[in-house]
């Protein structure tokens, strides 16, 4: 099973890098940009056919390793 996980900073946590990218886009003429948040994307391949089990593993992976739950959120997609 293929799993993708997106990790981003929580909304309330300042993302300086995202802010700089947003400002740069404005300087480049994209005046309608209102916000950019930067994150990380993980492509994970799991030897598991049961969707529910795979989801549980993915959640565990995200909590234990991929995110710092204090400042980051994650989204999981199963394919």
């Amino acid at each position: 099973m293929k799993i993708s996980a997106i990790v981003t900073l929580k909304r309330e946590v300042l993302d300086p890098q995202g802010k700089v990218i947003s400002q740069t886009l404005k300087n480049m003429g994209y005046n309608n940009i209102t916000s950019v948040r930067q994150g990380k994307y993980f492509d994970i391949e799991l030897d598991e056919t049961d969707k529910e089990k795979a989801k549980l593993v993915a959640q565990e992976i995200c909590k234990k390793l991929l995110t710092n739950v204090v400042i980051e959120d994650y989204t999981i997609n199963l394919k």
Partner: protein, 227 residues
């Protein structure tokens, strides 16, 4: 000869290079990244450092800064542009030089002296290296692993656009002498017209015996001589 050193937030070799330019009687101005007009210059230097905190990709945000349009125009008109370290990364991101600079192969920041072989002296930056073609300069970078597809690499080799390659003390260009995993041991390259040089090593840091060597001085002497 007149030069402009572009200063970005996070540049940290801007003053070093200004000292070097002054030593060789090049009239220099510091130009802040928010300026929109480049002062009249024969040479533009993009200095080393960590422009904009290396956000997104090294050199990426600087390559979209306000002053950069004028730098690109200057380069396209044949004006000299020297990009050192982060400056090289910026030149790559603007598309003025081909390829990409990846993270060092061993994923470690490297700060040490390396030996370089001057591959071509046929540019305004390297004329004076005819006296000495194995030199030693410091490197200090995390993303200096030059990478390009075979087509670009062959072109650089065939057209003689590689100015420096990492080598050992005897001048042997080998895998062991390659500090960061660069394709073909590349440490610095020129554009087709040879008016733009991007290099990872820092010539401005070795311009005086007091700084333990003068190998970098030859680059600045070449610029003065060619003008």
């Amino acid at each position: 000869m007149k030069s402009s050193v572009i200063v970005f937030p996070g540049s940290n070799c801007d003053r070093d290079v200004a000292v070097a330019l002054k030593k060789f009687k090049i009239k220099n101005q510091m130009v802040w990244h928010e300026e929109t007009n480049l002062p009249k210059s024969d040479l533009v230097v993009l200095p080393g450092g960590f422009s904009y905190g290396d956000y997104l990709r090294t050199g990426c945000i600087a390559s979209k800064s306000r002053i950069i349009n004028d730098v690109i125009q200057h380069a396209k008109k044949g004006g000299l542009v020297l990009g050192i370290c982060n400056g090289f990364q910026i030149l790559i991101e603007t598309g003025l030089l081909p390829g990409v600079l990846l993270r060092n192969k061993k994923l470690r920041f490297l700060a040490k002296n390396v030996f370089l072989k001057v591959i071509t002296i046929n540019s305004k930056f390297c004329l004076n290296f005819n006296k000495k073609n194995i030199i030693q300069l410091p490197i200090a970078h995390n993303e200096g692993n030059y990478f390009a597809n075979n087509k670009i690499l062959n072109r650089l080799e065939d057209k003689n656009l590689i100015s420096f390659k990492y080598c050992d003390e005897q001048g042997q260009i080998s895998k062991d002498a390659n500090p960061n995993g660069s394709s073909n041991n590349i440490a610095g390259i020129l554009n087709d017209q040879k008016n733009i040089l991007g290099m990872m090593p820092h010539p401005e840091r070795l311009i005086d015996p007091l700084l333990s060597g003068e190998d970098g001085a030859m680059l600045f002497e070449s610029l003065v001589k060619s003008n």
